[in-house]
């Protein structure tokens, strides 16, 4: 049955080459922990992506309850945390996932660096990877404000104050992110938009570029 559905679609769309491009590639011995246990260091990139998927899914569920305005934001998080079935677990997944993704990405960066995998011809993929790192830090910064509790508010005030001290662009940057004279309603709305639309959009584009380049060039050889 499945085969017939596949054939039906394949006849019309010719998806076999696409499928072979995505699924059919080799896993060399030197990156396979089944053959060399030390190859587990090659897992960090995959784990980063795995946790990113957890972040996207848990984040999608969080937005079902979260209300991005200063009157209801805290109340909605409090309600999610204390009343909604499994709400505390989904929020904890998103909370801890943010930390785990940073740790995994840090380890992945060290692996790529110390195996010299960013050398010619993989320079561009390294640059894209560092950009992904920056986007992730941006997601962490903007997401921290959203619960609108004490630590969120004051951490954001400090972050914006530090940003403002950067010469030339500092003040404009703060105005852009803060959206007004104080950290308030507009700041929360902007951080929400950045956290939920702008940065995830950038992240998905960069991840696509990252993976297409890996597939194109193959994984770097053994040292």
């Amino acid at each position: 049955m499945l085969q017939r559905i596949y054939d039906w679609v394949d006849e019309r769309m010719d998806i076999t080459p696409l499928w072979r491009d995505i699924a059919d590639h080799e896993v060399p011995e030197h990156v396979n922990p089944a053959h060399h246990f030390s190859a587990f260091i090659y897992c960090f990139g995959g784990l980063t992506f795995f946790v990113t998927v957890i972040q996207i899914l848990s984040g999608m569920f969080l937005t079902m309850y979260y209300v991005p305005d200063i009157i209801n934001a805290y109340e909605s998080v409090y309600y999610l945390q204390s009343e909604v079935a499994f709400g505390a677990i989904v929020r904890a997944m998103h909370h801890w996932g943010a930390s785990v993704v940073i740790v995994m990405m840090f380890l992945h960066t060290l692996r790529v660096f110390f195996t010299g995998a960013y050398k010619k011809p993989r320079e561009l993929n390294w640059v894209v990877g560092v950009l992904i790192f920056f986007v992730m830090l941006g997601l962490g910064l903007t997401g921290y404000l959203l619960p609108w509790d004490m630590k969120a508010y004051f951490a954001t005030v400090v972050a914006l104050e530090i940003m403002e001290t950067v010469p030339i662009i500092g003040e404009s940057l703060r105005t852009l992110l803060q959206g007004g004279e104080i950290v308030g309603a507009q700041t929360l709305a902007r951080f929400f938009a950045i956290h939920v639309f702008f940065l995830p959009g950038a992240l998905l584009g960069l991840l696509a570029a990252h993976f297409i380049m890996i597939r194109r060039q193959g994984i770097s050889g053994p040292l």
């Binding site: 080799e26 011995e29 922990p33 505390a88 904890a92 010299g116 320079e123 509790d149």
Partner: protein, 281 residues
């Protein structure tokens, strides 16, 4: 790939009519023990992923995300702290050489050089050698950066007053507020002596400024002493009334704002209702 003349398409589309068989590549001729990603390796990878997921879910269930009280911009005594992965940048700005007049070094120069170098690493370290031992400068720089990041994060955690941080920002819900007897003489003194400013109009506390005064582990005499001499961050000499007032105040606080036989306070039924509610919960 077949091109040009004689090519057949599906209907009037550009999809070729001749199908390629969906057969995986044969990796047996590849060097070493190469295996196919799909489905061999992916299956094993998913097993490891499942174990990781279970561990992660256990952690998420055992340690819920923290939530403090609702943001109160007027609480100027709150000690702010960014999330842990920004602590190294935050800590950098605390050093003399990177703050004040040298602020630029802490907020632009050092992070700019570090992250800029990270971004263009492939062109800074552009030799063909891949082994860390064969490119000592690149290895040393990365080690330095990693150790500095870990050290700064460590120092920041070390310097932060976690005990004070734990006390601040607590959630104050309506359930936590006991309605105190505002008609009692003790409340009058509580108001006059300025206790109200740091401990709230229901003795529920006011964030970092002052804790709540419910069920204190002190007797009336100790409370009287604290009111005069201070304790912790509370300075001495805040109370300047006479001894009789001090006694009324401390007894009032000891009784959680519910004096049994207030001098001129009326005992009304509202108070009793409140008491019953709390027993029910």
């Amino acid at each position: 790939m077949h091109r040009g003349k004689g090519m057949k398409f599906v209907g009037d589309s550009r999809v070729p009519a001749e199908k390629k068989p969906n057969i995986p590549k044969d990796y047996s001729e590849f060097p070493g023990k190469t295996e196919a990603f799909w489905p061999n390796f992916l299956l094993k990878e998913w097993l490891v992923g499942a174990v990781f997921l279970i561990g992660f879910l256990c952690m998420a269930t055992a340690y819920p995300a923290s939530l403090e009280g609702v943001a109160d911009p007027t609480d100027s005594a709150y000690i702010p702290l960014p999330d842990w992965y920004f602590l190294f940048l935050y800590q950098l700005l605390k050093y003399q050489f990177a703050s004040g007049d040298f602020e630029l070094i802490g907020n632009v120069v050092i992070p700019g050089i570090a992250f800029g170098a990270l971004l263009i690493a492939p062109w800074l370290d552009n030799g063909p050698e891949r082994r860390p031992s064969r490119r000592p400068i690149a290895t040393a720089m990365m080690m330095l950066g990693t150790i500095a990041t870990i050290y700064l994060t460590w120092e920041s955690v070390e310097e932060h007053d976690w005990e004070a941080a734990e006390e601040q920002g607590e959630i104050i819900t309506d359930d936590d507020i006991i309605e105190v007897d505002q008609d009692a003489r003790g409340y009058e003194i509580y108001e006059e002596q300025g206790c109200i400013e740091c401990h709230g109009d229901q003795m529920e506390g006011a964030g970092a400024a002052g804790p709540d005064l419910y069920d204190l582990p002190y007797g009336a005499e100790d409370i009287a002493e604290i009111a005069v001499e201070g304790i912790g961050d509370m300075p001495a000499g805040l109370f300047d009334g006479d001894d009789e007032e001090l006694e009324v105040l401390s007894e009032y606080i000891e009784a959680n704002g519910q004096p049994d036989d207030g001098d001129d306070g009326e005992e009304d039924d509202d108070e009793d209702d409140n008491g019953d509610d709390e027993e029910d919960e």
